[in-house]
Symmetry: C2
Subunit: 341 residues, 2 copies
Amino acid sequence: MKKMSIKAVAETLKISTATVSYILNGKAKEKRISEELTKRVLAYVEENNFKPNHLAKSLRTGKTNVIGLIVEDIADPFFASVAGNIENIAYENGYKIIYSSTKNNPVKAKELINTFRERNVDGYIITPTEGLENDITQLINSGLPVVLFDRNCTDIDVSYVGMDNFDSAYKAVKHLISKDYKNIALITLDSSQAQMIDRLLGYEKAVYEKRIPSIIKKFEYSSAKVNNITEEIEQFLIENPSVDALFFATNYLAISGIELLNRKRIKIGKDIGIMVFDDNDLFRIHQPSISAVAQPITEMSKQLINTLLMHMENTDKYDAQEYIMPASIIIRDSSSKEEIA
Amino acid sequence: MKKMSIKAVAETLKISTATVSYILNGKAKEKRISEELTKRVLAYVEENNFKPNHLAKSLRTGKTNVIGLIVEDIADPFFASVAGNIENIAYENGYKIIYSSTKNNPVKAKELINTFRERNVDGYIITPTEGLENDITQLINSGLPVVLFDRNCTDIDVSYVGMDNFDSAYKAVKHLISKDYKNIALITLDSSQAQMIDRLLGYEKAVYEKRIPSIIKKFEYSSAKVNNITEEIEQFLIENPSVDALFFATNYLAISGIELLNRKRIKIGKDIGIMVFDDNDLFRIHQPSISAVAQPITEMSKQLINTLLMHMENTDKYDAQEYIMPASIIIRDSSSKEEIA
DNA sequence: TAGATTTGCTTAATCATTTAAGCAAATCTA
DNA sequence: TAGATTTGCTTAAATGATTAAGCAAATCTA
């Protein structure tokens, strides 16, 4: 099977490449190609299963039909889930997705944006690291469609899909308070990212309102130190013996924390209340089950890809849109003081 | 900032595009371009941050520097983890990755292979569905680099990276037997995929050897029915009251199973032994913790991408290679009859 | 029936590269 | 010093599409 091209097709049918191109792009009528010829060409193309070369097309039109997905870590279940969810809609619309992980490293994030630009991706979905404002602004100024998610860059006018971190943190803590926990500690990251700050503020609003103490443990935001999370939480609990509930601001802090509590035979729910940001199979199955703030992943993903598609259709003006979706607080055993059978 | 091209660079420097191209591709010496001019061009390019258009390059050379990753489901933690692991090495070698999920649907899998072909990806990493042999053979016959993983197509000569399903199933069941479980049921899928058959054979070898009964529950392989896994397992346990241990051939069957056991207050480890294929945070953290056969994800991913890179460097002959990596059996509480505190 | 309009295409430039082939000028060789 | 070789580039074709502009032939109009 020799390689086919529009030129080859045109030659065999003894017509010009322009004609073939117009027909294949559905412009036959517009270009007044006779119906008879149109049919003949389409039949031939169908029969020989000819597909125009995508690279040549992209080179000429400047469109690659590729979306660049830049997340913190594709291996993280949350981001993987988003990747899976956006894939369907993207493919349905003729787009493929190329992914990459920043590992929360601003230098890497900048590089990724650049390589994606070099690759001429048509649109960007980004979970920004800190200090990425300029690069994102540049994309937008160059007329490129961008949607941020999970974490926002509040100081630039860019589309964003995320959830209401402030309100859901507030509600989650209020729930713990309603279950009679009185010394609720927030275990979080020392990060200036908007979503982390919102979670902290939501926590503080709830504890201030009820005049209970604000107890906060901040972890340094560096993946290198992941290993001693357990030790640090242990130390923290020793230093703060009054703490009777833990509100984890991220999934992986919670996993380490739960591991520690189990090891120390501290009874989750009874001895200590637990609430976690981001749900996970683990929390549902765990005995006792773990209460969590669940992000509406499916809805967020849909909104994400649809917003991007919208931007890609209207590249003339960038009309930034924000979608802050509500989370749901899933109440399970870990935030109830009753004895668990 | 107007758009730059090799042509534009050549014009400003008053030289030909060929010269610029040779220099940018490191062929200056080979093409006898003077060192002085080479330096001048490189300096100019550096200063103006010029990057040659990737599309034009790809069109001309036929190389896109893109790898196509076709997995069952990118949202699955196992595949997401592989995606994350191969990303590093791929990017280090100048390759980007475009992913897609077959959802185990052969029709979709075929379509994906075709769209990836149309996109001129340079290499394929595939977890094949059933009935994909022809399509994969075609890729190889067209001189395209392919590596399969997780599940093999035994009847074609193609590179494969996976783990020793037979041996690890055998060892896992032997472990259960050693812990004095005597009626070990295999909970698996009704699939003709090699890895599923191997797991079953490993199970059977172990039970036949010890002359204990072979009890097998096969689920229909269709994602549509996922919802009633729990009910079916419940039914199965009622029909087979003698069963004292469950060996789950896949992760998600296990999750449903564990959920059921917890709900029915059946004490894992004590009342019933559990062993699972594919480890997961969940199993480590669960109380009691769940024994699992852990795939060597990092090593497999490395082997996977390196094998593909090897094929991409030697496109003249396809020299199929198989890597069957050993799994490790992680023994936890769920396969011990001792009372758990 | 002559001029205008429409029909149904084609011509050729363009997108931004790569690379085989070519060609003066400079240098070497004998 | 004439011929051969080397140096240091350039020319131009090719990759495979899209699309504005053009152009005969057919049809319409008055």
